[in-house]
């Protein structure tokens, strides 16, 4: 099957400092790829650069649109970039408060992307918002409540609903469970695993936690100091890590 995303020799520097350096990978439809590394490993810079939120210093990112056409993301206009972000992509931020609109109701948060795509039937918007709240295990009776009245875990589940409601072809997730209690994390990871399978989502997820990769991703990239140190099937990396840094990460997962 043809790839959805092709990343080749991608670098992003901040002056002299390396954000990420010479990263290449393919992402296929329906595939969830985890990028694992500690803070400062360049994984978040990589995610932002791949998602065209940061301009690359070198290298290319190509994305195959719904109509089969390949787009070179570095050459996109702001208008095209926003159209892609609106119509074909989703982005889940680590802090749900960055990804949600806090001054409007939960239902409006879920319905916003649908309205941005031109849906103009209120009852239909309500129906879809209700069903998505239930899908992310939020009581549909809370559809008119403010997200600020939700717990952190609920806010993150709301952000997931808000992002996935338009059935994006490609989702970027930046540590979606970091900063939450372990039991809350587990519930969200379970939920994500279910939705990823059900919707056949392609996603790039950044995490510091190999356990998250083990649960969600068939393939994993390990980063250190802005570079990829190991890449392969997640199971293989966990069973037989090659790079000393990966070995260190794996041993810390196995002891927890």
């Amino acid at each position: 099957m043809s790839a959805l995303l092709q990343v080749r020799g991608l670098s992003r520097h901040y002056g002299q400092r390396i954000g990420c350096e010479d990263v290449s990978f393919d992402l296929h439809p329906g595939e969830l790829l985890c990028v694992v590394g500690e803070s400062g490993s360049g994984k978040s810079t990589l995610l932002s650069t791949v998602a065209a939120q940061l301009a690359p210093s070198a290298g290319t990112v190509r994305y195959r649109q719904r109509d089969g056409e390949w787009l070179e993301l570095g050459t996109l206009s702001e208008a095209d970039r926003r159209r892609l972000a609106r119509e074909e992509w989703g982005f889940v931020t680590q802090n749900p408060r960055d990804g949600l609109r806090l001054n409007v109701s939960a239902g409006a948060n879920v319905a916003e992307r649908l309205m941005a795509l031109g849906m103009r039937n209120y009852s239909q918007l309500r129906g879809i918002a209700r069903s998505w709240l239930e899908r992310v295990e939020i009581d549909a009776a809370r559809i008119d409540d403010a997200p600020t009245s939700f717990s952190g875990g609920m806010q993150q589940r709301l952000q997931i609903a808000r992002t996935l409601v338009t059935q994006p072809r490609l989702v970027f997730m930046d540590e979606p469970t970091a900063g939450l209690d372990v039991s809350v994390q587990a519930r969200i990871l379970d939920l994500l695993r279910g939705l990823v399978n059900e919707l056949g989502l392609a996603a790039v997820m950044v995490t510091h936690d190999l356990a998250v990769a083990r649960l969600l991703a068939a393939r994993t990239i390990v980063m250190q100091g802005g570079r990829v140190v190991e890449t392969g099937l997640t199971d293989q990396i966990l069973d037989d890590p090659q790079h000393p840094y990966t070995q260190l990460l794996v041993s810390s997962v196995l002891t927890t």
Binding site: R82, R83, V104, E112, R126
Partner: protein
């Protein structure tokens, strides 16, 4: 006319700057054009944007009408009318049909406007997305890309909260199928009068330093949902003075016992109808 002022208070350079901005505004219907707003001898909130537009347009032969909430005799309207009578010496009127230039706050006259008339609106907040998106750079980008889903978020919230679109003033419109625009705080009752109006409509926001325009015969659509279409206010009453069933009504208290009655907010329209009825 007080001799120490240039005609219509503003100097000619400032008027030329304003006219250039107005021409650009007319060329791009609904687009907010920045302009170098001047200090006016009235505080912001008193219509300094509208006054500057009026000052840039006035010629010696113009006949000026000024209304506030539909009435010619409120403090705001009287002050602005007196101001221009003093600094431009132009003729003023309370009759819509006699005016060549009408400056307004909060209403569009009931009497249909003509091609040879201009309506100037005082605008406190020109950006319809402002309450939802406080960042100026972001609203500018949303306009540039005609990315207006956000406006429907507000209408959605209205229905979720009140069961219907409760926004009744400053009801957002799409101008010429392109720019999302604030009609200024007129009642939504007046929105249909904006659509394909024969008269030129100009909008001035002094504090925010923005001008915009709806040129004659431009399509103006009030936003809505398919299953919650745009509707104007309706009353079970007629005007108790002139009997009109088509005009925007104000509920006024008529004595110290709190008795109320419904009367036209457009005092000129109401007065004309009563005069006709007696004739």
């Amino acid at each position: 006319m007080t001799p120490s002022y240039n005609f219509a208070f503003l100097d000619e350079d400032t008027k030329r700057m304003l006219r250039r901005a107005l021409l650009k505004a007319v060329a791009i219907p609904g687009y907010q054009v920045p302009f170098g707003s001047r200090e006016m001898p009235l505080p912001y909130g008193w219509g300094t944007g509208g006054i500057q537009v009026t000052a840039a347009l006035l010629g010696r032969d113009d006949i000026l009408k000024v209304i506030d909430q539909g009435a010619d005799d409120t403090t705001n309207a009287v002050n602005i009318r007196r101001f221009f009578a003093r600094v431009a010496g132009v003729e003023t009127t309370e009759h819509t049909v006699d005016a060549s230039l009408i400056q307004t706050r909060h209403r569009i006259p009931e009497t249909p406007l003509r091609e040879d008339q201009i309506l100037v609106f005082q605008v406190p907040e020109p950006e319809p997305l402002r309450t939802l998106e406080p960042r100026e750079a972001e609203t500018r980008t949303l306009h540039a890309l005609a990315d207006y889903g956000l406006m429907h978020v507000k209408l959605y919230e209205d229905i979720a909260q009140y069961g219907h679109i409760a926004t009744s003033y400053d009801y957002p419109v799409l101008v010429d199928d392109r720019f999302l625009t604030s009609p200024s705080p007129i009642p939504k009752f007046d929105n249909p009068k904006l659509d394909r109006s024969p008269a030129l409509m100009l909008f001035g926001a002094g504090r925010e330093k923005r001008l915009y325009a709806i040129p004659p015969y431009t399509k103006v659509e009030s936003l809505a949902f398919d299953d919650h279409p745009f509707e104007i206010q309706r009353w079970e009453h007629r005007c108790e003075l002139c009997g009109s069933a088509e005009s925007y009504l104000d509920e006024v208290i008529v004595d110290d016992r709190g008795s109320r009655m419904f009367v036209c907010s457009d005092t000129d329209f109401c007065g004309d109808r009563r005069a006709e009825a007696q004739a």
